[in-house]
């Protein structure tokens, strides 16, 4: 096959232009490395998104849906999710999934890194909260997060460069309920600009964060990292889908075969390769990169590539209130967060816990959708107006992000029966919710009902497991010090291939119970700074 050569003399090849790839590109390019990133998707601009436009509520259910299986864009790849109760969600393009993320900017707790020691389950991480803290601080100030210093749930009083976003009328109502119960709450930290910050405008409260910010206020990685990385010399190739990583006879990775926008197979050589393709895309690529030397996929001597998938099963409890609470306003984004039930209390019948976020509930169409299986008269006919009156502007969500534990049977496998638009195999997820997490969900849902009732809700609706909630894709190439039981070391270098790094959510040892992007970016920064600092000792392909 005729393979065209792409630019030579590349020190570092990055696969994936999400936030992890962005952190790598900016750190390495500013430190003088010649960086090329291959990204299968394209750039999006604030004007491309439908938020704030008449078609928003209709198009967010299709063209701007967070499930690649629903969007089915050319940049997406098929993911068979038939055997998982949770649909995997992501965006494939510059900025990666932060184009669609809600921007909840939450750092993990110290206990998250020590669950074996504290709770006797899973494994401890090879580093702790204190090791990561300077990187959390640096990333938080770099991306322009909004929040309020002093949350007593955390052991330290970390700061934010921007003041908190408004919690809104519904946030105030919920906070009063939490106070009645004596439960923890705090104005939530968000990766959304409450004031103009660097190249971003201030939030205009469209509430469309999850279908792309129409204002350019959200800290998606295209804004926070990629423009700056390109200014610093990084080369970002879009419409470039990596099919396979190649290796030499020393077992080093030499670069990647990719298919460009015109369908031409090309080759990018590099001395070092960094994977930042997310917890599904990275194992997909490693498992598809088989060779005589690596018959089970690259960096997979442990057999753990693709295994231990964690996805944070998510429950929603909606409360409807008699008062008008303007819950159509964003950000969405979180108004409040609560860590009241985050830490283990074995009296509850499970270990670990969950983070709660209070969220708005969107526009009028979102209040009136019919669910398959529902009697049509519950949603349409006279009931249409009853629901609209009861819910529009008067409904708020306590969302519950649970910490699921790593289990080897939860995995991402290649699925050659379905291919993407470039003929590369898609993947299949095999995932079940563990017994500990089931009990955790039940407990938290009932507490969230109590929180709404204490706040004065007139009715509550429980969704014990939200299907479209697989936005956190973690654990499929875990970190650790033992090559027999882990894929990468603490700085992201794979044990098997000394010039191959992984820096996305795949490396999580356990899932933590918080939204992972602050942690992913802090880990990526720590890893890439270590690579840059130790460049003279780094093995490289020639």
């Amino acid at each position: 096959m005729n393979i065209r050569q792409a630019p030579q003399d590349t020190d570092v090849l990055i696969v994936g232009a999400g936030p992890a790839g962005g952190v790598a590109a900016l750190e390495l390019a500013t430190r003088g490395f010649r960086v090329v990133c291959l990204e299968q998707g394209d750039w999006t601009l604030p004007d491309d998104f439908s938020g704030g436009k008449p078609g928003w509520e209709l198009t967010r259910l299709k063209q701007w849906h967070p499930s690649p299986n629903v969007r089915s864009a050319a940049s997406d790849y098929p993911i068979d999710s038939g055997d998982t109760p949770v649909e995997p969600l992501m965006f494939n393009g510059v900025g990666g999934s932060t184009i669609m993320f809600s921007g909840h900017w939450v750092r993990a707790m110290p206990s998250d890194f020590r669950v074996r020691t504290l709770d006797g389950v899973a494994e401890d991480w090879p580093f702790g909260y204190a090791d990561l803290r300077p990187f959390y601080d640096e990333v938080t100030h770099h991306i322009g997060a909004s929040g309020l210093e002093g949350d007593p749930a955390y052991p330290d009083s970390h700061s934010f460069p921007l003041p908190p976003l408004p919690i809104g009328k519904y946030g105030l109502a919920a906070a009063k309920g939490m106070d009645k119960l004596g439960w923890h709450w705090w104005p939530a930290p968000n990766a959304i600009a409450s004031r103009k910050f660097k190249n971003r405008d201030a939030c205009l409260r469209y509430g469309a964060c999850e279908s792309g910010c129409p204002v350019g206020a959200k800290a998606s990685a295209d804004f926070t990292h990629w423009r700056e990385a390109i200014d610093a010399g990084a080369v970002l190739v879009t419409g470039a889908r990596v099919r396979q990583l190649t290796v030499d006879n020393r077992g080093l990775v030499t670069g990647a075969e990719f298919i460009d926008r015109d369908g031409t197979l090309r080759y990018q050589a590099a001395e070092v390769t960094v994977l930042a393709a997310n917890g599904v895309g990275t194992p997909r690529l490693l498992l598809n990169s088989t060779s005589a030397r690596f018959p089970d996929g690259l960096a997979n001597s442990s057999g753990l590539v693709g295994k231990r998938l964690m996805i944070h099963p998510y429950a929603s409890v909606y409360g409807s209130y008699a008062d008008e609470l303007e819950s159509w306003y964003g950000p969405a984004g979180q108004s409040l967060q609560s860590m009241q039930f985050y830490e283990t209390d074995t009296d509850r019948g499970f270990v670990r816990g969950a983070k709660w976020n209070l969220m708005p509930t969107g526009g009028p169409l979102a209040q009136t959708l019919w669910e398959p299986g529902q009697d049509w008269r519950e949603a349409f006919g006279p009931a249409f107006h009853d629901r609209l009156r009861r819910n529009f502007g008067r409904r708020a969500e306590w969302g519950i992000t649970t910490e699921d534990l790593p289990e080897e049977h939860n995995e991402v496998i290649l699925d050659p029966s379905a291919t993407d638009s470039d003929g590369i195999p898609g993947v299949k997820l095999d995932y079940t919710i563990g017994a500990n997490t089931e009990r955790m969900l039940e407990f938290h849902v009932e507490r969230a009902v109590e929180a709404h009732l204490a706040a004065g809700a007139t009715s509550v609706e429980r969704i014990p497991i939200v299907r479209d909630s697989g936005w956190h894709l973690l654990g499929t190439a875990r970190m650790g010090s033992d090559p027999a039981t882990s894929v990468v070391g603490e700085h992201g270098r794979t044990h098997d291939v000394p010039n191959l790094f992984i820096i996305d959510g795949s490396v999580f040892v356990t899932s933590t119970g918080v939204n992972p992007t602050a942690t992913i970016m802090a880990i990526a920064l720590r890893a890439m700074r270590h690579l840059a600092d130790n460049r003279l000792n780094q093995t490289a392909a020639v």
């Binding site: 704030g52 008449p54 078609g55 209709l58 259910l61 299709k62 110290p110 206990s111 020590r114 090791d131 309020l148 002093g150 007593p152 749930a153 052991p155 003041p163 908190p164 976003l165 408004p166 919690i167 809104g168 946030g171 105030l172 906070a175 009063k176 106070d179 004596g182 923890h184 104005p187 409450s194 201030a202 205009l204 409260r205 469209y206 509430g207 204002v215 303007e326 159509w328 306003y329 964003g330 950000p331 860590m339 830490e343 283990t344 526009g363 009028p364 169409l365 009136t368 959708l369 019919w370 398959p372 529902q374 049509w376 349409f380 006279p382 249409f384 107006h385 609209l388 529009f392 502007g393």
Partner: protein, 140 residues
């Protein structure tokens, strides 16, 4: 995609059953849903047009209530397409927006800390049932 006259008539027969008038809220037909608005909605969601047309064909000529019940039970994808487009078109109507009487975004993200700062002092006083693994100066 545009509806032919028969399809539009079939849709009009269903639209007011799905969304009747109520208080200040107009019915779907009064709001103009079977006219230009459904075309606009289909413009945003061309992927739904096949299922929508099939839904109209399934219901055509039958008693609307019975037909809708049957459609929801037997062909949920068609019922979903029909209702998403009907409700989506309804909320595009200026009459409906006025009747909803709300101020939609954009709205500046003014800080509202003053509304809860006193309450926060209590949250801080309550402290946090944290565990013993707080990092100290000399340990993790």
């Amino acid at each position: 995609m545009t509806l032919d006259a028969g399809q539009r008539r079939a849709f009009a027969a269903l639209a007011d059953v799905l969304i009747p008038a109520s208080g200040p809220m107009p019915s779907a037909a009064e709001a103009g849903v079977p006219d230009a608005l459904v075309d606009q909605a289909l413009g945003y969601r061309p992927d739904l047009s096949d299922a929508f047309i099939r839904a109209l064909a399934s219901c055509s000529g039958a008693d609307p209530e019975a037909a809708l019940g049957q459609l929801a039970a037997d062909s949920p994808d068609q019922f979903e397409a029909l209702t998403v487009l009907t409700a989506g078109a309804y909320f595009l109507s200026t009459r409906v927006k006025a009747a909803l009487s709300y101020t939609p975004p954009p709205r500046p993200a003014h800080e509202d800390t003053d509304t809860y700062v006193d309450m926060l002092a209590e949250v801080v006083d309550r402290g946090f049932p944290n565990r013993c693994d707080r990092p100290t100066k000399d340990s993790r």
